[in-house]
Symmetry: C2
Subunit: 112 residues, 2 copies
């Protein structure tokens, strides 16, 4: 994500923008790992820690281990939801960690 | 904050937008309660809980009690920072609580 349009007068990226950059990974991860034809992702809560000012272009990354993906797939039946936790990290162009997040997500069957 | 431009295809307001609506109150509260000619506000971290889907126009509110304001003013000297916690609530037009947040903020003297 570029700085332009997302920064304040301190030359740093807005806190809400950094949050959003990390938060949307929950949806992306859900669509790539689970069945988006039967379940949709939902965020229940998130903790963000701001470690350094965010300057320049920022990148967020996360991962879900195979065991968690298998557990969620097993739990999330046709009319059952399942929860998963996602840890994400936002770094600047030098690789400095600007923020870390822990998000509580669910996938829920459509209609619920 | 209006729904238009801030919502997704579920008809609900984006998680990051709800976060931002609550988060910016820390800066607003800081500018209204402390000395913005000597200190600037900084967010260290935030926990957000999403309780209900956010539909329609949303409003965020918060408050700082007088004792906290006095403590922060006493702690924040010419070259000293001070921390405060802010609890905020985001409600819809019917008054339903959509999200709650607990933010960890600091005010810091300029140049630090």
């Amino acid at each position: 994500m570029p700085f332009e349009g997302n920064g304040n007068h301190f030359g740093t990226v807005y806190a809400g923008v950094i949050f959003t950059l990390a938060e949307v990974l929950g949806g992306a991860m859900s669509f790539s790992s689970f069945d988006s034809s039967t379940h949709y992702p939902l965020i229940r809560g998130m903790q963000i820690s701001y470690l350094k000012p965010g300057r320049g272009a920022l990148t967020a990354s996360t991962s879900l281990d195979d065991a968690t993906i298998e557990r969620v797939l097993a739990e999330a039946g046709p009319d059952r939801k399942a929860a998963f936790e996602l840890h994400a990290e936002v770094v600047d162009e030098a690789g400095v960690v600007v923020a870390t997040t822990v998000g509580d997500y669910q996938i829920r069957p459509f209609g619920s």
